[in-house]
Structure formats: C-alpha cells, structure tokens
Subunit: 394 residues, 2 copies
C-alpha cells in the first residue's frame, strides 16, 4: 500500500473514514458533538430522550404531535413477552447483566410480527420495540437476580423515569429522573464507535435489526468500550479518599498505566458530554447528601491533568465516562448496570445506524463490510505446508 495513504493495517481503522453518514458529527478538535445538526449542549438541556430518539430515527426534531404519538408507541412496547420473564427466571443469578441482555435481545422479536428488513416502516417499528424493550429487560433482570419481582412498566412516566421506577419499585426523585434523562441523551449516539460499527456491519449483511443490536451489545460489553465507566468507578473506590490521589496517580503513571476516564480516541478537548455531566454529578451528590465521589472525581481531574502535563508535557482531557460513573453511582444504579444503562441509551443511535446502513438513499448502495487481511502464516516457511496424515505425524 502507498505510504501516502492513511494506514489501515493493524490500526483498528483509526482515522479511516469507512462511510458517509448523516447521523452524527464528532469534531474532536473543537470538542463538538452534533446529532443530526444539533449540538449536544442544546439537546441535553432542552430535549427529552424520546425527542432525541425521534431525531435520530426520523432525521428531524419532532413537533409535539409527532412526539406524542412516538411516545405512545414506545410506551405500548415497554411490555415484553411473558416468555422473556420466564427465561430470565431460569438463568443463574450470577450471569452478568450484559450477557443476559445480549441473550434476551434477539428474543424481543417474538412480538414483532413485521420484523425483517423489508420496509423502512417495519424497521422503524422494530427499533421502537428495541428501545422500549431493553429498558424493561435490564430492570427486570436486576430485580430477578436480587430475588425481587419485576416491576411492570408505568406508562404515566417518561422513558427515563420509568426505568428508574422499574429498577427500584419507587417513583424516582424528579430531579434524578431529569438527570437520568439527560444522561440518556448524552450517551445516545457517537458516530462510528466500536459497537455502532458492529451494528452497521451486521446490518450490511441484511440481517434484521434485532441481530444487529444483539451484536452491538456484545461489542459494548468489552472493557475497552462500554465497560469503561465501570472501571472509572472501581478506580474511584480503589483511591477511596482525596489524600490518596497523588500516590495513585504516581503509581499508575510510573507503571505506564492510564487514569481511567481521562483521554479519548477522538476528542482533543474535554469531552463536551463530560462538561455537562460534571455539574449533574455534583448536584446528584447534593440530593443524596454524599458528594464524596463527585469531589474525588473533580480532584482527580485537576491532579491527573497536572501530572500528565508535567510528566508527558501534554494535555489530557476528561471523556464521557469520567463523570458519568459518579453520577450513575449517586443515582443508586448498581455498578454492573452502568454498561447496560449505556446500552439502554445507545440503542437509539445503533438503530439509526442500522437504518442508515440498510436504507440510505443518498450514499452509494450499501455493500457488505468485507475487508481483507494480509496472510502472514509462517508455519512452513514461504511455501504451503505439506499435509502429513495423522498416523505419520510426530
């Protein structure tokens, strides 16, 4: 390959644009995140998660009638098939929520009579089943593994508030519900990240959207991707108190490690989502009367950035996981649900990408993702191996 080219071999395709997309713009240098033309700051402040789902799926912000009917359809789809509860009940309590979610997602297809990739309206309908269904599944599994009865969805509540209600069985604090809603908006979409690329790739085979979303959940479950917010929280707990921050930073940087939640593949500024999450984390701590984790995060940010500047002479910035960890923790969300909550939100973006992959008219005809690989097998030198029957092998 030409040396002038963007290198693609063994680089994880970093910096290589593989497709055109109308869904999301991540401007790494400017620190801007844009969903279908709209800045994340505007959306997080002014739009509900349902509104953002409409925007992502239907390409435009809805008017109030459009939103009301979308919202109604989503509420109707919160009820998942009874067989899914039966399945969840039979699983070992020790299974991780992400494994359970990946297993249960393909089964949501049961009540979707028109599932398939035949028409755009069918796929949009399936997307609603997925967005609504994942929420019910995650909450139900958390109840069941704790020997509690699942809480049935409450259609008087928003998507965000209903999830918190199904999780705890209590109507959530309105401010907490609003923060959770904003949290869902912030995590909904981020262009071709690993799980979204997985969803698009599966969709490119013309597999149906349930198969694509279940695949994306598998991708998100990886510690390097959706698992990062859990690792931030574990780090905070490991540090434990502010006076231990300096030693922690020294230790981690001495050993060539990274401070979880600092640094991002794309942003060269603070992640715009982190800037929105930080005050929410602070306020959530105030509501619960425990701002310890927020304050620890804040101080770790300051000191971590200083240490990076001093030792490596470069700036490092907060990513989305840095403040979402303490926010979700303050909301009482169990740590191993942080990644499922990420899925609960990102499913909206995944669905938009599956639809774009399968139905985009502006872009050239979508084609199966089928890259190559350079064969470097060296078992028999430059030649093929001579086959020896098993009886003669030694």
């Amino acid at each position: 390959m030409n040396d002038e080219c963007t290198p693609v071999m063994n680089t994880g395709l970093r910096g290589v644009d593989v497709a055109s997309s109308k869904i999301c713009d991540v401007q790494g240098k400017a620190g801007k995140l844009i969903y279908r033309g709209y800045r994340i700051e505007d959306l997080a402040k002014n739009a509900s998660f349902e509104e953002v789902c409409c925007l992502l799926l239907h390409e435009r912000l809805p008017d109030d009638q459009t939103l009301a009917s979308f919202d109604l359809r989503l509420k109707q789809k919160r009820h998942i098939p009874e067989t899914l509860f039966t399945m969840l009940k039979h699983l070992p309590r020790s299974m991780t929520p992400m494994d359970v979610l990946q297993a249960a997602t393909p089964l949501l297809i049961q009540t979707d009579e028109n599932a398939g990739t035949e028409t755009l309206s069918d796929v949009l309908n399936s997307a609603e089943h997925l967005i609504a269904g994942l929420s019910t599944l995650i909450a139900a599994w958390d109840r069941l593994r704790n020997d509690k009865t699942p809480v049935m969805p409450d259609t008087s509540l928003t998507h965000a508030a209903n999830f918190l209600y199904m999780l705890t069985g209590e109507p959530p604090d309105p401010e907490a519900a609003a923060f959770f809603d904003a949290g869902l908006v912030l995590h909904a979409e981020h262009s071709f990240n690993a799980s979204t690329f997985t969803a698009r790739q599966v969709a490119s085979t013309k597999a149906h959207i349930y198969a694509a979303i279940a695949a994306a959940i598998g991708s998100l479950s990886g510690p390097l991707h959706g698992g990062a917010n859990v690792r931030v929280m574990k780090m905070l707990m490991e540090i434990g108190s502010p006076e231990k921050i300096d030693a922690y930073i020294d230790n981690i940087l001495d050993s060539g490690g990274l401070i979880m939640g600092l640094g991002h593949a794309v942003y060269q500024t603070d992640d715009p989502r982190a800037l929105i999450l930080a005050p929410m984390s602070q306020r959530m701590g105030e509501i619960t009367g425990d701002t310890r984790w927020y304050e620890l995060t804040k101080e770790l940010e300051t000191k971590g950035k200083q240490a990076f500047k001093k030792r490596k002479n470069r700036d490092i910035f907060c990513n989305v996981d840095f403040y979402s960890a303490s926010l979700f923790y303050a909301m009482g969300i169990p740590m191993d649900l942080f990644t499922p909550v990420f899925a609960l939100s990102r499913v909206s973006g995944w669905c938009a990408h599956v639809i774009e992959e399968q139905y985009a008219k502006a872009a050239p005809k979508p084609t199966l993702y089928r890259p190559g690989a350079t064969y470097v097998g060296d078992y028999c030198g430059p030649d093929e191996c001579r086959f020896v029957r098993i009886e003669e092998r030694k």
Copy 2:
C-alpha cells in the same frame, strides 16, 4: 484522502487489508484456500473436523494423542446446561433457528467457570464449549420446534455424526456422516468475511468470546452472507426442472438480477470448496436415490456460465453455496438449518480469530476497531441547526 489510496469510503472495505493474520489465506486468482498453511483439498480429504478445529485453534495439526484429548474435551462439552433446554422449550416455535442460536449462545457461558479473557488457556477452553455447544443447541431447537424430545449427545460418535444423530435420533449413514464432516471442514474458515470481521471487532473491545461469537452469528444470519446457501436451494426449487433453466436465466439476467451461488467477492475461479462439494452432492443424491437437485445444479452451472459469457462477456464461477445447498438438502437437513449448519462449522474459525485478535504476539498490539465516518448531514445547510424548543416547532 489521497487518490492513489485504496478507496475505503462506502466500499464495505473491499480490498482493504485491515490486519495481518496467520489463520487463513484466500488466493482469489489462483483459487486456493489455505488454513494455517494447509490446502483445503488436503484437509477436506484427509482431516476430520475435530482435527481442523485443533489446527485452527492451536496453529498446528495435532498428533494422535493431542487430537484424542481435544476430542475427549469436546465430547464432554456437548452437554449444555439444563436451563438452556428450559429456555428453548418456552420459545415460540416460529422463531428462526438463527435467532434462537444468537440468543442461546451467550448463555453457554453458564457452565464455563473460567470464562473471560484473562488467559489464553481459558479462552481456548471457552472455544471448545462454543464449538461443542452450538451443535447441541441447533439440533435441540430443531427437535423441540417439531414437538420432539431433544436427543442427548452420543459420545461414541464424531462431531459430525453426532450432530446428524441428535437431529434425527437415528445413527447416520456412515457415508453421509463423512460428507457432513467434510462439509464442516470446508466451511470452517475463510479469513475476514463479514461474520469473522464482526467477531474480531467485538473481541477487539476485550469482550469475552461468547459475546463475540453471538455477534458473529447475527452477522452470518444476513441473507447476503450465511443466508446465501438457503437462497440457492430456494432458487433450485423455483426452477424445479431442467427444461425451465433457460427461461429462468434469461428472466433473471434481463431484470439485472444474479444467479444465486455464482460469483464471489474474492475468487476469480471456481471456489475450491465448490469443486469438492459437487461430487459429494452427486454421491449423496445417489445414496438417497434422488440426484435431481444435484443434476439441476450442474446444468444451471453450465448454462449460467455460458449465459454470463455471452451476455456480459465475462466468466463467472461457482461459490461455496452453489453445491452445498443440494448436498445439505440431500442429507435431509431442513433448509432453514443450512445457515445454522454453516455456523456450526464456522464457529471454529471465529474462535481462532477471536484468539488471534486478543492474544496475537507477532502483530502489533491489537487495538479497538474504531473507524471514522464522514459527516454529510445537510439538515441546516453547511451550518449547525439552531435548536428550537418543541413548543415553537412547526
């Protein structure tokens, strides 16, 4: 991007090498397929599927002791958790086998105490669970959806023979079992095809191998990928008899369509696997006393190739799906199990790729697949959209 570069935008990454790999070499021009140094012709003729699994997972052909202990471990892992049968029993009979397989695969983790990505030997152990478990799952689902009791695995049988036995409840014809074994060898691996790329991509997030394989199953379920052998069989049935071939070809080529099973993204010769499958399909027809589908395929090949040459002035070649359809059909495998049978075999290659992605030492440190996309949103012209609150939208 430089015009001299291999184009990647909206091309599905065709022809773009994204990684180096020691697993498989597909030589499109020469029509050669090589697994870890060995030609597919040698392997299909002389090696069992178990031997090929060893080769793919452990990088070398096993000696008889190594193979015997691998085989024993695989046989022990044919028994899947009881909860999986319970789950299958509760599913609607109408669910497709690929959807069921994708849902059930993450649940195989239940009996795998050391699942995770911590050590290579743990992942190799998980790979055995997956290779053995998929077979039991597919057969059990086919029995249950037909109101039959699942047949428990028979450890006196090979992997191939045992699958046919679990499917029908009868000990398979030895020649049929041998052909099925060869069929599994032929489908085991094919470099960075769509589903394998999906598996690697999920693995690159350091997700565990069950999550990666479940994702790959979703990818394989797409009609453009693993679903192609089913479409070949449907086409054969649509044609029905040899005298209708000419009209079928004319009709499909007039309308700009493709003849299923002819043409491949990589091979510029007959697919080496098709050359091996064709006589197996013929002989299987002879065994069952019905060579009709083989003969129809053969004549369609001849006439299809002639028509392509005449109309488009180019050669077209058989791919793997062309003769596997009539072979599997003659074996009595239900058509909608063709793709699951593909998975039953390819899981071995997927596992090898997951392991290479997570543990390869020769290649540079694996990095998360995270490509870019070019944002082409045009909702508000070249500028960002101005956010208007919902009350003021119209």
